[in-house]
Symmetry: C2
Subunit: 170 residues, 2 copies
């Protein structure tokens, strides 16, 4: 349960951080304000970029933290710059780094109450597979898509981040 | 390994199928050709919708099939209508339904060669966590985003599909 969450969230959040850093270059190049990108969206009733990044961070924090059974650190949703969004990612990764493998033991069986659906629950395994990972990747991908749509020169490898391939055994 | 792949791919592909069905309504309402949506993209150098759906299907098929250690059924990339894309999803789900839990036993340790990176490999666990799920959700989310950007009235619940919440134990 630790392996399917903490290292993957970190890999993906670091990739998102690097994408936001590239976006800082776009802001300079196009002579625009950060807020143009932070408030960009793909549909009028969709969350803008700033919220996509905030929710991706909260999905990572909430999924890993609930499985580990620890209290979730509160974070204000007050970012107004790309730099502040990168710091939000840094704070989220610092929280993930406090979690230990031992805290996740048995969490696949543990009942996780669903905060947005009072009275309902999922097992830890269902929770991570169905809600945790899908929601997290949904918001990271949407943040990526908003920036790509706004002219940022990124591709799939930017989304994937660092994958630790090893040499094939013969 | 079965639980983190087959049922989640099915849930998400069925959600994507329902989204494509909604898109058939948009085609009628706007009096446009299916091809307008199938060729839509969010950036000039991005895969259009048709390819996003094809790759999402192939990610599900390839990830689950490689972990199960079975031969992957070939599928032609020749869809030109929303109906044909729904059938591609149906065929992919029919393949997923042939896989058994037993075939996945021990697959977390098994070495999976990376077809796009000759000579490199990942363990089954690394493969599913790092490449399989992230890539799959990336393409499903991008298909969703392309349609939402083109005026389809969809939201997060359309993306999530059917989640089997149970009543919280008191």
């Amino acid at each position: 349960m630790y392996a399917v969450t903490v290292p993957e969230f970190k890999r993906s959040l670091l990739a998102l951080r690097a994408i936001l850093e590239k976006a800082e270059g776009l802001v300079v190049e196009k002579k625009i304000e950060d807020s143009v990108l932070l408030q960009a969206r793909l549909a009028p009733d969709q969350f803008p970029l700033v919220k996509q990044v905030q929710v991706a961070c909260d999905n990572a924090k909430g999924t890993a933290g609930r499985l580990a059974g620890v209290e979730l650190p509160k974070m204000e949703d007050n970012e107004t710059t790309l730099k502040a969004l990168k710091e939000r990612i840094d704070k989220t990764i610092m929280f993930l780094d406090t979690l230990t493998m031992e805290q996740f033991e048995g969490s696949e069986e543990r009942e996780i109450p669903i905060y947005f659906f009072p009275g309902k629950a999922l097992s830890g395994l269902e929770y991570v597979n169905t809600l945790g990972l899908a929601n997290f990747y949904f918001h990271v991908t949407t943040a990526y898509s908003i920036l790509r749509h706004n002219g940022l020169n990124i591709g799939k490898t930017d989304f994937m981040g660092a994958v630790a391939f090893h040499d094939e055994k013969k």
